[in-house]
């Protein structure tokens, strides 16, 4: 750009205003969360400034609380299960969609993406109908398994959206070469395809995990005695004004998910670089 050229997108004043707006937006975006983290360390159950002192007592109390612990463990199990099942299904079906001539290809991909637009409330109640306690249509009892199934349905489209472009971008000739050299289908998949889609695979696992561990609507219709953590948090927020015990766990989850996001960003960057090398 030459020295004298003016910015065609914004005047100097316009830019100043946009900078201000952007800064204000960042405050709006992050302030609530930062306040939540600050007050989780505050030595009082009353949420007000000035802060009354630093304490980790609520963290200890939350750690001791068996209900919180139980719901967290349940959530982790469901999320891990969702991540694995949804990703495996998505890898298989993406591979078929990208590589094989498939009848009704358009219909299959539409069906795969359909859960994206269906309101989660509708999904939740329809699964409740399916597993209804008296005379169930599919004999699976309500509980964590039912939640897992619901979460796989929700997460599957996201996993397919992540994996399909990556699978489709693999050069066909790589697989043909492997085949000509005598590799079986499975070996080709394991030694050629899998390494190439590994970053997308990890991203898919992570996204499915994050979706499941935060999902409350479908879970709230399907849990029985053992709730998941979002359902516990949801009913805690709804029923009681007492949030001191919830804040520490919230803080831990915010920090954990931030780390996960950064990791995912790094992985996808690494994946791009690697895809660049493969070409």
């Amino acid at each position: 750009m030459s020295r004298g050229s003016t910015d065609v997108f914004m005047s100097r004043n316009g830019k100043r205003m946009l900078v201000l707006f952007f800064a204000g937006f960042l405050v709006f975006l992050y302030l609530p969360t930062i306040l939540l983290i600050i007050f989780s360390f505050n030595a009082s159950t009353v949420i007000a400034f000035p802060l009354s002192g630093f304490t980790t007592a609520f963290y200890e109390a939350a750690w001791q609380n068996t209900e919180i612990k139980g719901s967290l463990i349940a959530s982790l199990k469901v999320a891990a299960g969702t991540a694995v099942v949804a990703t495996v299904l998505a890898v298989l079906v993406s591979y078929a969609l990208a590589r094989r001539s498939l009848r009704f290809k358009a219909a299959v991909s539409a069906l795969l993406l359909l859960p994206l637009v269906v309101p989660t409330v509708v999904l939740g109640v329809s699964l409740l109908v399916l597993f209804r306690p008296s005379d169930p249509i599919v004999p699976i009892p309500l509980g964590l398994w039912a939640v897992l199934i619901g979460h796989v349905v929700i997460a599957l489209p996201f996993c397919v959206l992540l994996l399909l472009p990556r699978v489709a971008s693999i050069d066909n000739r790589l697989e043909e070469a492997a085949h000509d050299l005598g590799a079986s289908g499975l070996t080709t998949f394991r030694r050629v395809v899998l390494p190439l889609i590994l970053p997308a695979l990890l991203a898919s696992l992570m996204v499915a995990f994050v979706i499941s561990i935060d999902e409350v609507v479908v879970a709230s219709f399907l849990v029985q005695d053992q709730t998941t953590y979002p359902v516990y948090l949801y009913s805690g927020l709804r029923l009681s004004g007492q949030t001191s015990l919830l804040m520490p766990v919230a803080t831990v989850m915010i920090v954990a998910s931030t780390i996960l996001i950064l990791a995912a960003a790094l992985i996808s960057r690494y994946g791009e670089r690697r895809a660049g090398l493969a070409r």
């Binding site: 937006f25 949420i47 927020l237």
Partner: protein, 391 residues
Amino acid sequence: MAQRATMAAPPIVIERRAWSRRVQDRLATHALTTPALALLLVFFLVPIYYVVRYSIGLERFAQNEAAASLTGELPGFSMELWREFLDPGLDLEVFGRTSVHMPAWVFGVVFVALVVGAVFGPRLSERFGGWIRAASFLLLLAPFLTIPAGNNLLRVAELSSEGDFLRLFFRSVTMATTSAVWAVIIAFPIAYFLAFGIKKSKYIWLLVVIAPFLTSYLLRIFAWKIILGDQGLFNSALFELGLRDPDNPLSFLIYSQFTVILVLLYAWVPFIILPIFIALETVDRRLLEAATDMGASRLQALRKITLPIAAPGIVAAFLFVFIPSIGEYVTPSLVGGNGGYMFGQAIASQFVGGALNWQTGSVLSIFLLGVVLFLALSTSRFLRAGGGATT
């Protein structure tokens, strides 16, 4: 004989191999697709099919079954509940005064016509296409935009009774539209700034802006409760200053339509910056340079060049907020109170809450599903543009 056999043998073998390979291929394809499709069939399509059955009386809720068998009533096809739901119709208020009664089907026809006009307008007529599209858009949005100043030009009359689910639905649409429009209004300058105002490490700032969307939704609502709740920061500041009695906090801050709209838009803004940003990135700066060289002001260039190019991204952004917000359930039940009660909550309360009538709940669910599917299908062009951009 022997010679002929050896001559004939190879092609057959090859053919058989090709044939068996084709069968293998097909089997493998089935093996790859069947698990996912079976899962969606059993746990996605079949459940919705059963909800439809409930809504037309072919299935009955177990708790009603005892009562039904006493009166000798058997499950059978009936549109009674649908009629109950749709019969009240709507009242449209014009200029906040005159109200026009509209049966539900008239409204439905008008609505479908407007969506078709907005999406396919330019294809309907070469000369007036743009006008048809603009007018349809305006008429679609106008009734559902709550303007803070008060009386709207055109709007659906407020709820008259508890059980009027159709009006409750339109209130949810109003809330969803308002938060989606505000979300776009906030997201556009941010995306514009990210796309054109930042030269260095643009993508890091983009990540900073989007990251909150990826953290827990519930926790973000939780954070707002800490600020706006009865015992929250805002109210306790008022108590401290003696402006408000601790027994009498400002509760509209946390339990109202306003809060639902605020939290919904807070939750979705980070996400929709992305499609708008990507649409803006496709703007060729040489076009704008040409425009300014020919004497256009920056504002003219924005209106005539940048906005039309970014329009599909903006529409996609609007839909990304609007579609999930119509059926929203968690946000209003945490921060909505009575004033912010939404359609999704009504559905939930028919299935697990106080009202407990699965059949009515099914009617509401299928209605919501139908509207959302219609919107998603008719606008799939925009959604795909935006969705393709986000993945």
